[in-house]
């Protein structure tokens, strides 16, 4: 094994066991969300048998620390969790591509042309707008919908959302948690084989 960037070692050694545990939990949460949301575009299960958010998080950590691969560089990406999330996206992207390639073998030429035509920017915008509508439908109260819309407008922080909607900050945190729960459950589709 070749020697890695000493800054990586330094950063990891500086983390407490609690910080490592929190990193893994938050990464797994993102992996779980990503699997559920990516499944929307897949016509068939795209994860290997037995592979779940936990496996995905572990694979991302392994890849990020592989000194012979595209490893984490703390200078370019100071936030390890953010970097690990990008690795999760990359792994899922590869899995999706592999599954789509397999699916294309079953598609005739006319269908293939229709699928290619659908990939325009205008189509993507329409799809994103439809998705927003769908997400709003999944929520139970107007307060949840307003918070979701405010986040989609680019306001992420609870304090900003609270100020904008005239709500208590703690209430916004609670609403955010509820929204995430509703969406996670509703976005779940047939994910693994």
């Amino acid at each position: 094994m070749s020697e890695s960037d000493p800054r990586v070692v330094e950063k990891l050694e500086a983390m407490t066991p609690q910080q490592v545990q929190e990193l893994i939990v938050r990464l797994t949460d993102f992996a779980d969300w990503s699997i559920r949301t990516r499944a929307r575009w897949m016509k068939r299960p795209f994860l290997p048998k037995g592979y779940d958010a936990g496996s995905l998080a572990s694979e991302a950590i392994t890849r990020a620390l592989d000194p012979d691969g595209r490893r984490w560089n703390p200078e370019n990406d100071p936030d390890l969790l953010m970097y690990l999330k990008s690795v999760v996206r990359s792994i899922l992207w590869d899995l999706q591509k592999a599954a789509e390639k397999e699916a294309l073998d079953d598609v005739d030429d006319d269908e293939l042309e229709r699928m290619k035509a659908k990939g325009s920017s205008a189509d993507e915008e329409l799809e994103a707008a439809e998705l927003q509508e769908e997400l709003l439908e999944y929520l139970k109260t107007d307060e949840e919908r307003l918070v979701l819309l405010t986040i989609l407008e680019g306001k992420n922080k609870a304090a900003d959302i609270a100020a904008s909607l005239g709500l208590d900050v703690e209430k916004v945190y609670k609403l955010k948690w509820q929204i995430k729960q509703h969406l996670r459950r509703r976005l779940d589709r047939s994910v693994s084989s």
Partner: protein, 145 residues
């Protein structure tokens, strides 16, 4: 619904942005509980992640130790072969090998320690076992400081 082959599409970007917005300051214990309720073995996931990081750090320590050993071995081989022109230069070379740097605190400390070692004692380090013993003794003194 289909996806473009060549890029991260708008809907994926929207959903990832939403995740960030909804996760701000979310309680890690609640997240863990929710993941467990979704059927994810969080005990194993956490253990696996911790093990990957611990094993990476262990391997890095070994690789660092091995690289240091090779540097010192090379500096001593140069000394034996008469490549190093003076006792002072020999100590410089070995201090660089020990510290892994040619200036700075680590280098200064190593140099000072080497000054208390006779050059004949350094010249007597001929085989791997003797060199390893020297390195370990050096590190022991360092840790005991």
């Amino acid at each position: 619904m289909t996806r473009r082959e060549d890029k991260y599409n708008e809907s994926e970007e929207l959903l990832d942005r939403l995740f960030e917005g909804l996760s701000e300051n979310a309680d890690v214990n609640l997240i863990q509980e929710e993941l467990i309720n979704s059927g994810i073995d969080m005990e194993k996931t956490i253990e696996d992640g911790q093990e990957i990081i611990a094993s990476f750090l262990k391997r890095q320590k070994l690789a660092k130790g091995r690289a240091k050993f090779e540097r010192i071995k090379k500096a001593l081989a140069d000394l034996h072969a008469g490549v190093t022109p003076s006792v002072e230069k020999a100590r410089d070379a070995i201090a660089r090998a020990v510290a892994g740097e040619s200036s700075g605190h680590g280098f200064q400390v190593a140099h000072r320690k080497l000054e208390s070692i006779e050059i004949e004692d350094l010249e007597s380090l001929q085989d791997d076992a003797a060199i390893l013993e020297f390195v370990l003794k050096f590190e022991e003194d360092e840790e005991g400081r």
